[in-house]
Symmetry: D3
Subunit: 276 residues, 6 copies
């Protein structure tokens, strides 16, 4: 492959993806709001850009075959902020992709597009959206837009509904929802090397014993996670207070995002529930 | 009921709804971009307002029990225009509704949220979105937002996926998709008088022999359309040229919107296909 | 048909069924706890019996081809009472039917076997039980027993999940749930005259615009109700206070039974919500 | 439409279709094994032909826009006979249609493609085949072939799973399965005048109270039957002996075809069960 | 956790669970009909009690957080016996749990709640009950009651549909249905340590190659069995006579329970079919 | 088992099966069109026969308990050839099996019975057929016939929808579709040693990461493949040109068979796409 563009390259997840992506293409263009990122690969270029700026995005995607679109506000925030970075940012990416003939977009969607389902309901990739925040709503938007660009223009998309991507497993919720960095990398690699994907949705979750999602409809992607949060279960459960099944923050897939007031940071809430 | 707010009151559909809504509440507040509307009912007030203006919407909804939200650009248009009127307009309505304790929003969604499904696939109200235009995408957005405000704040919503609302039946596609004005009025009335609706999606289609949609999941609303486009079938089919099943404009639920370039008017295309 | 046995003959619904059943068989044996019933048909015999008495039931069913089993406590009550009349009573009926080679049992099940589903969920005849009371639980029990006697012994059963059988339509809930007496009679007639039924479940609801149930899987029975509670809608809705969608008594199929404490009368609660 | 070809024109159903089809096209070519048929319409030509003769079929379809393919052995028969008339006949029709660019084939499939399902199972148009005879197996074959020619060559097909097409309703089974001639004609008309059909399967059953099939997936065709076998129910049920639910001839959709030995006439069995 | 109550502690399965449960709580109260059990853990108390005795059960559950309810007749038996021990016993447990504010009940349900399904039908946890015996019927009852106490009072329940729990794999049926003791223990542990379960049903089967059940809807529990009956396959199949697919005792999930007369021991039949 | 008959014994797959089948029965009769096969097992007999010859097939199956039916043209070919070898051959096998009381037929069906589904649609064993060639159509026919003989005569059948059975993994499509010979052998063994199978369909695919099929409904067979085409992925993907998602030969399960003209060899096309 000639050229891949990675947005959100300075974020925690984007950082994990830079080296693997550099190994899959002649040229990797990484971009984010930061002034620079460290440790560029030999075939990697970094470009500072705001995805809400249509012209900047149009320039970035010229000549690209695929875009790995991870750039966005990664937390709940006031609607206007989400509108700019996540809604408009995603539109700019797809619009530029169509103009430049980009073949496929691998998109960092999120479990928060489905966050209001109770965790006792196993969710698959065909059920209707039930977002929990403006953040989650922006993911619904981009997924629906991706579906439309595939239907109308043949631009492929793999939407990764990332659950809890993090280094260590930090709390009881993550025993089901954890996505290790290695598994994230595998998921992105398969989303790129699969010859044909059309429009596909897949959950980004590790091979956890307690995984509450169903990826079977996307089995052709070949995503087979290797890590299992159960290795952390005994230690974490010992420190976890009794749960309240009437509390949506504990009962829903979205976790604390299910109860955080719209527009307020959900990450802050998640930190509070973590086992220190 | 004390107060209903009707947005889009100057539009073709809003116009049909004013008198019936005035009969259902102590007070009807109608609003649109026009300077004025004619024929106000005794308990009806008209307020000129842009739904993209958050403060104006906040004022309008004070004291309202229900909002009938029909105000939006009703055709495909450039993304920025849709973003302002349809996305931001809908957000302003739900945000104000939550602040003011509005009980329910009856929303004019559209078949174009599902327009890329082939017409030989009967669509129900639980299948994933497949929008055909930015216009349709804005309907997906508002539906998902409505689901979220119900899940998080208990604000009810009935999303009417209006198909082809018009006076006469104008072309072969409408033999399946027609929604007569009388049936539209019934649909809105039932969406209001049903004691509890939660978050519900329902197609706005008349009792056409050739109706290609499935409203069974929303049967509790009691919507039973009376009109049937089949009365127009013989005359229209006699003037309809042979169809091409490989042409998405003929094969898809969205009709010409399925092939119109994103951002260009689909209504213009529909007019071209109509039997004069 | 030679002989039909009707249990619960002195109850409100049993009373409606006596004449129609007498017209369908050479002999009708009616039974209940009352000393006598009035207006016996020429081929009708009345026998006072307690269905909790195994020997009495065994005697009653001798020579019967079909049993129309409507005898039971028709309201929520302490568990021990339900256990005797509804659980043990039903067991005695099926056990005697198997001993005597009875061909089919038409059983008065109830919506309260499914009462905890929200009304915005359309319920069909294949979904798992969600009873709302001991009363509803006894209906689940008899349905499952009926399935077993069909699977093991070939005794047919038609389980009628009766919703709100009554003369007039008394409250807003009944706009969806009403079963007129004429439609009840048709439903029982079809359950009897259909040549083969196997084990079948069907909802007992009239042809209400707002019917929230799905009988399609039992369409072979030919039940086509004629009455429609919508005729009463305007008058009733005018007197109905605003509903609370967080109140299970209003949100669930079971109505007030959904919130009545287990063992306490639900009928009393229903009366309170009725429009006088 | 310029030209329609009707095969099986001399059969009982083909006879019903000749005049209505003649009214829908400039030219109707009727064909069958008989030497001649009576009462030709002004624009109708009759050609004697064996559908098992590839060259004859190739000649017949030249210039045709649609084929209404009803020609076949209409009863169970030895495999070799079915192979010639039904399998090879259908292949010749589709093969010629593809060579000549025919737009659509309306095909007389049969309930016997699904005959081994129990009647207490409502069958839809997406469930797997369960044929009951070689005759039914030939219908499965033609349906699957029709699907393939649509997928590969864009030739449309409407497969009518005709249940019990007949003049009077003759037995208890037909109370559910009857298809009146008027409804058959409507079904064929809609299969022709619908602008786009793709590959579609639909049951040919009247508006019987006891209809045991589900046509909802094909609702876009606009088939709304008017006749109802229930008008005959009282008279027929009075003469019908008690059924045996363990007898597949009574329990299955295919009726006597479900138990007739493969290769032997099922129609003869059906006659035996009819009320004289 | 402060206190767990284990019923059926003297039974074969209860015996396996005592030590693991003792390790999960400050206090374990074991109970059964036996006078005593051997090998009490340091924090374990044994109480002799009949679960059909409401007062005794009320005493036992005081202060308990969870109940592991395995106490019941574990075989088919006359209805009156099942009624007392299994129906009334289960009612007493849930009733006392509600009075005492118990958080969760882990319940030994059984495959015999679903025993009449053919083994060629994979069964999941949402399909309707099809019990094979009074024993199985009592499991249906308790599952439905568990659903109701969750819906009405928020008492959680995990219903384990135990298939063939035993030490060695004894016959061909068990190649699919075996549940090893280690896997049983894991299943109970996960049912307890999962923070929130709501009302959940899960099959108790090991990781057998030939497992005929679908636990995917309960994946959030994290039950991942380790043992596999296939290790025994070659030896057992070599001694197994040819099966008869028309024999329900071989064809159904319930095995011999599917054909044993109601009220007669099914375990005796299973022993007869075992490879010695 | 006394006697197994293997058809297609001289083919590539039949060759793999001879030794394993010889080990499972007292007597193995192998047959094909070839004059002889090499390396007969001690209990193996080879008979040259044309399966289109009814008498020859009738002789072969005398005394057989099971037939492993792999004999057929294994590629797309003109309809008349397929009709003789695959349609008539299969009919002869089932007809003789019924006459001789054969217990079960293990049949080499093919993915080409489902070849027109897009690969992004995971296919299960209950979806309708969508054949891609006359070859695939003959597999649909035999599956439907197998269903009928089971329903009417109790002859069991396991239909193996073999995907890409081959030694090495030769192209990108096979990363999902590969069936190793060892896994093929396991699949046939389990299809034989499972005590009861009824009529069952199962896909023949290895344990590939990228497997696009769903065998869960047939889990009772215990087929657990061991090989994984992913071992070949890196090498093959490095040599694979960019795919075109609008090309059915790349997008559909059937691969090149999806676009090959009916009647022309599809194997030739597959060779062209292979990585040398």
């Amino acid at each position: 492959m000639k050229k891949i563009v990675l947005t959100g390259a300075a974020g925690a997840l984007g950082h994990q993806l830079r080296a693997p992506l550099a190994a899959m293409a002649d040229q990797l263009v990484s971009t984010d709001l930061a002034d620079a990122v460290e440790g560029l690969a030999g075939n990697e270029t970094y470009v500072k850009a705001d995805l809400g700026d249509a012209a900047a995005v149009m320039d970035l995607l010229e000549g690209a075959e695929m875009v790995v679109h991870f750039g966005a506000i990664g937390d709940e925030a006031p609607f206007e902020q989400i509108l700019h970075s996540n809604f408009l940012g995603a539109y700019n990416v797809w619009n530029a992709a169509q103009k430049h003939g980009v073949r496929r977009i691998v998109y960092a969607s999120s479990i928060h597009a489905m966050g209001m389902y109770p965790k006792t309901t196993r969710i698959d990739t065909k059920m209707p959206h039930r977002p929990d925040t403006f953040y989650g709503l922006s993911k619904c938007f981009a997924e629906d837009m991706a579906s439309m660009y595939w239907d109308k223009y043949g631009i492929e998309a793999v939407c990764l509904r990332i659950y809890s991507a993090s280094g260590p497993v930090g709390n009881a919720r993550a025993l089901g929802s954890w996505l290790s960095y290695d598994d994230l990398i595998q998921l992105v690699q398969r989303s790129i090397d699969t010859p044909i994907t059309g429009f596909t949705v897949v959950y980004g979750v590790s091979n956890n014993d307690r995984s509450p999602v169903d990826n079977s409809a996307a089995s052709f992607l070949g995503y087979r996670p290797k890590d299992n949060a159960e290795d952390f279960a005994e230690a974490i459960l010992a420190q976890t207070p009794q749960a309240d099944p009437q509390d949506k923050a504990q009962m829903c897939h979205g976790g604390p995002f299910a109860t955080v007031p719209l527009g307020e940071s959900g990450v802050a809430y998640i930190k509070k529930m973590s086992v220190s």
